[in-house]
Symmetry: C2
């Protein structure tokens, strides 16, 4: 079968690999019908060394169950499923607390690719299938597929940013980053009742889409100028919640600059730093809280799915390009060049 | 009148100073009947340079209102009052949200001493008296005075640690630090229903008092050994909430080591660092939250006062020594030597 492999930074190839197959009794074999490239795939695209490659890529997918292991009880051949990016048993202590990204099962984990396989491929073995996969009540050719695919990562991750921040009706929220996750954070803040949503971003096509998702103010400036502009827009006080969807230090510094006393910085951009200012001046003086982490997107599927099915939200609008598997390497390049926001893959 | 001045690290003197008097129409002049030395007073006691001295000391006090400015409406001569360590108008946007330590009034502020005066003295001018001071329904010689005095700082600060952490019934909580604030955090976690309370501390007399306040397990070990012990006591997972009442980096590192996935580190020890690990490994991987800051103790008075008046809680037990004003320098030394936990001053 065909699958995407990253050999090193900038070197993505689609090649023949051994067919995926069931290995453990809790596995499902899924024939992939829709997948995509994630903003987080660009991190290794920038920095991966040859020693770490080749790596199978992709962690967002919808597909048809082709076969299940003998211990899989809730899925059957022919089911259309979405696979959250984190493998989880969905029954352990942490999963029951809706923290599936900290699932304590020894097979549970996440990162680029689902273990030894990836979603940018024709098929995939999904571990802990009963816990991980969620059945979808549509057919693989449904027009809702792009929106449903966002349940695998970007919608749930943006929603996690807003939920971890505890966004409540009437609040003012600043979203840092106009990538797909930032735009999903906008949609999520709006869904939770935010009154003012400031989007810090510089790509007009993206911030325009942000406005359709609920953005009230766009701030293109960065650094001190951007901070001053957000403060001006928020009555001088800053935002109750800052949703940080980038992960680089300047984004954290922006967040510190625009958060209101007693407010919260909620991070879903994977931090590309370890140490950061959190002392008296940084967070402590005004009781600023810090929240967020890898999104337990599995926890949010039941809540968000109905809104997609009835058209209340259209998160699939973040996809602005579609390709087949052979076009994946070009898709990486387009996302890296910012000519594409997010690329949908139809294997 | 007599007042306490710190000239530099280790040099505390009680001297004659000009009598306190009303300066602004919202001031009250308070004759101090009970005051104390705070663990945070030991920071300048260790590090203050002569260039920063002499400074008036003390920010916790109970006293009798002797005179009020013309704009003070809610207090009258003869009222017994407690003064939270932060001056606030209690009516601004932030005060109304119970964040009095971020009060937006230009006269509001806090730190060692209330502006140019201090509580370790015979009298004090308290700014924004209507907002800051709270009337007490007892006489100055009440046996409840030591407990009521803790409303000025340590009880409210310990309670803030637990409240900012969102401690709920049944949780397991680790408190780092067996000083007065740590012990108040124990009492507070117990009050909020924590089932298991682990106290990390090495002073047996203090941890014994901690047990009376609700500690279920004492861990005297520090560093990796202390972390392993707490994890062992908490089923391998760590604590839902870690209340950090020290402020030094090793305490933060202990907190990182013992917090449970999805848990929260709530800091009320003033950070003696600015940068700290909060990246993927530190906080992000397991959605660890960070909370806390200078406690808005004014916000908690109405809630905690009844429990003191009816004897449900006895926070005043943290005072293990009493002195008059002339004994204050020796009190600093005793607290620094750890021969006293907290020194009560009867001017």
């Amino acid at each position: 079968m065909r699958a995407t492999l990253m050999y090193r930074a900038g070197d993505v190839r689609v090649e023949n690999v051994p067919d995926s197959r069931i290995k453990h009794p809790t596995d499902a074999l899924v024939r992939i019908t829709a997948s995509c490239i994630c903003g987080s795939d660009l991190h290794p695209y920038h920095s991966m060394t040859a020693a770490d490659g080749p790596a199978r890529m992709g962690h967002e997918l919808i597909g048809v169950v082709e076969e299940v292991g003998p211990d899989v009880a809730m899925l059957a051949r022919g089911d259309l499923v979405v696979s959250p990016f984190a493998v989880s048993d969905n029954v352990c202590e942490f999963c029951r607390e809706n923290l599936q990204t900290s699932c304590s099962h020894h097979e549970a984990d996440f990162w680029d690719g689902i273990f030894d396989e990836g979603g940018q491929a024709e098929a995939i073995r999904v571990p802990l299938a009963d816990g991980t996969l969620v059945k979808l009540p549509v057919t693989p050719d449904s027009a809702l597929v792009p929106s449903l695919l966002t349940l695998a990562d970007v919608l749930g991750t943006g929603y996690h940013a807003a939920r971890a921040a505890g966004v409540t009706p009437g609040q003012n929220v600043t979203v840092i980053g106009d990538g797909a996750v930032g735009l999903m954070a906008v949609l999520s803040a709006k869904r939770l009742g935010a009154e003012q949503i400031v989007l810090m971003g510089r790509h007009t096509d993206r911030t325009d889409l942000g406005r359709e998702f609920g953005v009230t103010d766009v701030v293109a400036e960065r650094g001190e100028e951007g901070i001053a502009r957000v403060r001006e827009l928020t009555g001088g006080q800053g935002s109750h919640a800052v949703l940080e969807a980038v992960g680089h230090m300047p984004a954290y510094e922006q967040a510190l600059g625009v958060v209101r006393p007693g407010g919260v910085i909620s991070r879903v951009g994977v931090p590309q730093y370890e140490e950061a200012p959190i002392g008296f001046a940084g967070l402590f003086r005004h009781n600023i809280r810090l929240a967020g982490g890898p999104a337990p997107v599995r926890a949010y599927v039941e809540e968000l799915l109905p809104d997609i099915l009835d058209g209340t939200i259209e998160p699939g609008r973040v996809f602005d390009a579609t390709t087949d598997l052979e076009g994946v390497p070009a898709g990486y390049k387009d996302m890296d060049d910012r000519t594409s926001l997010k690329v949908l893959i139809k294997p």
